[in-house]
Amino acid sequence: MFFNEEFETLPREAIEALQLKRLKSMVERVQRSVPFYQESLAKAGVTSDSIQTLADLARLPFTYKQDMRDSYPYRMFAVPMEDIVRIHASSGTTGKPTVVGYTRKDIDTWSELMARSFVAAGVHKGDIIHNSYGYGLFTGGLGAHYGAERLGASVIPMSGGNTKKQIMIMQDFGSTVLTCTPSYSLFMAEAAREEGIDFRDLKLRVGIFGAEPWSEEMRCDIETKLNLCAVDIYGLSEIMGPGVAIECCEAKQGLHIWEDHFIPEIIDPESGELLEAGKEGELVITTITKEGIPLIRYRTRDITSISYEPCICGRTHARIARMSGRSDDMLIIRGVNVFPSQIESILMGVEGVEPHYLLIVERKDNLDTLEVQVEVGEQIFSDEIKHLQALSLRIEKQIKEMLGVTCRVRLVEPKSITRSEGKAKRVIDNRNKA
């Protein structure tokens, strides 16, 4: 089943011809309207005329997340504000988020790609989609929502949290499709079991899980406990949001990336050199149809590999493997992206707190937990428990407010956090060992 059979099954030569045409026109647009690209393209000595074949893409400069931060809030936009109909943002390192804007056509494209993703996952008109991705500045909720409506399915805009109510609605409304993070699906199943509800008895047929890395073992676990077909979805707000790539329910081997709108490349994160198909490296994406905020060779920092092998589902679009990690220190905690530097800047804002901290991430009962260890030096020490507890609470609250992630602050003795020469060890992630 396809949502847009013509485009989803385009022969490779046709995909590449379309990519080349769209790439040239995109580069022409940004060199006309985005000062950042005027500068970076001039520096690299290329113009839209330099692009004769797709191989010329490798001559274009990379775009980094930092470039978007430096352009806060709107300077990367390629169209006037009156053409922007939606603004999303992801949390930033110093409190300032990374901002993205969408034109009406961008929303339209996003809705179509998300609808294509739903169909690839085995969803159809008549399905009841229980959407537990967060609604708001985060792209997950609204992205899945618009795709569901475009498909013509019934969408329940649940958003995250309030697990008991989620379970009640899922049971009473007869939800057939669940969209959330993979860990939250297991958490809900566990919570339901405690209420005497077996997820396997619900009408759920398909689960579309993303926003955090997961493993094949976790898929087996989810499929057994929830009795549904679980597929992986990929997206990031800088590129669009959810629906950049999706696994098809037929093969469940790699995520089809919609190549008529994005050009994927895999590079060596150190050298920036292009890697051949099958080799693992950093995913770089060029958006070729986006109007609001087109990006040339955006460094996603996600580690994967790409395959152009034909797929049994009939889709001709290349497949990227499950993300195996990051080429930077970003943590994904319950679907929320967190950089250690963000926590550091919050801690440094607390009077007397020293720059020695350690983040410990674990997975307990299928949910990620974050512990922030802070050393108690003389400046923040009080011999009254209540003052120290108030300090912990204040830090926890600030991290929740700024980053949207719940954590637990643990006060530790000075020098108990290992000092290392060179790069300090700031993170202990125990999740992969489980």
């Binding site: 003389e378 009080s382 011999d383 003795e413």
Partner: protein
């Protein structure tokens, strides 16, 4: 008239209390009394010792976070209602007790309580005015 107390931050970890007391013992510091306030993660060990400065120095050298606090030692008649009388007096004057604990030695017939007040000087004045015996630090350190 106040008494010097040192407070030490210790993680709720195996052997930490033993280490603090060992460091003090090796330095020839004698613990006169102590109290431990704890949470699930950490504790605050409060000590009155015979040599506050020395205790503070050796513990800091070994990397502990230490602070010096002023507390008040008060003699309390060892009879029913003895402590209640003192607390009532303080309450009447609006003085808050942040925490308190008992001193291990007796002073003649009386018990000794250690108090940490939000307003130390005011508390000392109130207690003295009502005829309670506030003990100077020097007596406690040597007791």
């Amino acid at each position: 008239m106040h008494v010097e107390q040192i407070s030490i931050f210790i993680e709720n970890k195996f052997g930490r209390l033993a280490e603090v007391t060992r460091i003090l013992g090796d330095a020839g510091v004698n613990i006169r009394t102590l109290s431990l306030a704890d949470t699930s993660d950490f504790g605050i060990l409060r000590l009155i010792v015979n040599d506050t400065e020395k205790a503070k120095t050796v513990l800091k050298e070994r990397g502990f976070t230490v602070s010096k606090t002023e507390v008040v030692a008060v003699e309390i008649p060892d009879r029913p209602g003895g402590l209640a009388d003192i607390l009532q007096t303080l309450d009447a004057d609006g003085i808050n007790v942040e925490y308190m604990y008992a001193f291990v030695e007796r002073c003649g017939e009386n018990a000794v309580m250690i108090f940490r007040f939000d307003e130390t000087q005011k508390a000392i004045a109130t207690l003295a005015a009502k005829g309670f015996n506030v003990l100077p630090g020097e007596r406690l350190y040597r007791m």
